[in-house]
Amino acid sequence: MDEQYKITANAQEAPVIGPGYTFGTVTEKISAIVLTRPASNGWFVGFGIAFLMTMMMLYAIGYLVLKGIGIWGVTIPIGWGFAIVNFVWWIGIGHAGTLISAILLLLRQSWRNSINRFAEAMTLFAVACAGIFPAIHVGRPWLAYWLFPYPSTMGVWPQFRSPLMWDVFAVSTYATISALFWFIGLIPDMATLRDRAQHPATRIIYGMLSLGWRGSARHWHRYETAYLLLAGLATPLVLSVHTVVSFDFAVGIVPGWHTTIFPPYFVAGAIYSGFAMVLMLAIPIRKIYGLEDFITERHLQNAAKVMLATGLIVAYGYGIEAFMGWYSGDRYDAFTLWNRLHGPYAIPYWALLICNIFIPQVLWVRKLRTSPVALFFISGVILVGMWLERFIIVVVSLHRDFLTSSWGMYYPTRWDWMTYFGTIGMFLAAIFLFVRLLPMISIFEMRTLLPEAEVKE
């Protein structure tokens, strides 16, 4: 542990970990949630609701497979609709998990150690939700595997010059690397659970998942090297994923899409919504499981600051879009701006500006940054706002393009809504299971934050 690391861990006023903890108590406290704490009625009710919502999603998808995407509101000219809105929204939410686990690791922000595990879990579940949408949106979901370059009897290959194809590779790489990163982070903690478990079956399951980890110094050395390199790989990866997602739009010539500001502004928006989701999960979890000493006020404040900063980048993106609408002199770009402000979808656009730009400015107030209740609601507002942003980008740009004769309107149907809310249910169901079955805070990384972990040469 070098000097810099210690300074960030110990020298600031708000601690990253409450006082008085030892290796033993940190271990006991986190592993007890999984091993000994009985599941409460609240957990069963919450999981039950999330499970029913998941079933609703499966029902909606089942009906879609039977009937075709005509059950959705998508029609020409709006061929993308909710599926792409939700895809971009979910994949963006996932980005905060990788930012916390990889980028903050490289920047030696040790406060990340108590939130990286469940932020990574959030990433995985969000990417799983995101992945559903393009697959069911292709029209014949049972042929979605055509997206991958496999040697087929047809003899043709995918079209690699298309951003949609890049997206297939970016998202599947992202899902794989996120899963690997999460899994290797879990290995030492699985060993802890194996050694703490009372029931033989539990011991065998966690023992298998731990791969026989025994904490050898040589193993730790290679482990840390691999973890650090993986973080270094995940960092450009996460930035590339939303960049590629934005190429899906920016490479097209549709007014409102064809702009170079998209990649950075998509990445900032992704982190913005992702931190909002992290806070919406962390705030109730720390309260329910009594983890205020591990997920402290400092974590909430830092997350709020990240949201404030990325929110301003997003606001800058909106500003540039509006400016280019005027400055380019392109009448179609100018019309897109006018249409957003005054067209049939003006209400969602103004709501988006209020949710993403105006309301989050209250985060300048320190008192609100440290208030869990206020942060919870502001995060909710941001998540709604970011969803509206993707709705505006997808629907409003498509519904009125160059020729008035090809204008149209998009009205989501109940199947659109059921699928969307269903994925939220699936996401929450996965989170509910995660907090009961796996240590939601990285135990071994928490140990390194304790003063007794320090050694001198």
């Binding site: 043709v156 290959w157 690699f160 010059r161 026989g212 110094a217 691999a226 390194t448 972990a453 050694v455």
Partner: protein, 178 residues
């Protein structure tokens, strides 16, 4: 006939500092086949045990090169050799469009090599290992620190090594049955 082979002698310590000091002294005393176990990574501990060659970065580099070449050559071969298709008048070998997937494949392969390379070099998964025979070793994943001298060490001798380890003031000493 009960013939118990000894895998090594293990000493238990209370703190990371005690373990790192003990590892240093044991290595300096001429023991080479030793290992240390801790509930979290300790900077510099592996070096004290005489571990200097970490091959993980090389494995990751190889993975990245394989991935990048695979990604680029796959696209080149599919788009320009096996089934050339004219897409909007672009060249068959339109390399700028191939960069994104080349990049993603580089990351994908490097990441997979990092994880599975690390596990393979560590000899994991290995559900059974003799050190698990020591009941107190369960604490190695919680708050205790262990140092072991393997019986395969040329300098190993049951009584002498035990005596040496006792001189390091450990909390306890146990024999690890093989």
């Amino acid at each position: 006939m009960k013939r118990e082979r000894i895998y090594g002698i293990m000493a238990e310590f209370d703190s990371a500092q005690a373990l790192i000091d003990a590892a240093k002294r044991t290595h300096e005393a001429g023991y080479n086949k030793i290992d240390a176990y801790s509930p979290f990574p300790i900077e510099g501990l592996a070096e004290e045990l005489g571990f200097h060659r970490d091959e993980v970065p090389l494995v990751v580099l190889i993975g990245g090169i394989i991935g990048g070449l695979t990604g680029y050559l796959m696209q080149y071969w599919m788009s320009a050799v096996d089934y050339p298709l004219n897409i909007g008048g672009k060249p068959y070998h339109s390399w700028p469009a191939f960069i994104v997937i080349t990049f993603e494949m580089t990351i994908l392969f490097a990441g997979i090599f990092a994880v599975f390379g690390m596990l393979a070099l560590n000899g994991l998964p290995m559900p059974y290992h003799p050190v698990f025979n020591v009941p107190r070793f369960a604490l190695a994943s919680k708050d205790r620190f262990f140092l072991i001298v393997f019986s395969s060490d040329p300098k190993y001798d049951p009584a002498g090594t035990r005596g040496f380890l006792a001189g390091l003031q450990p909390r306890s000493i146990s024999e690890v049955p093989s």
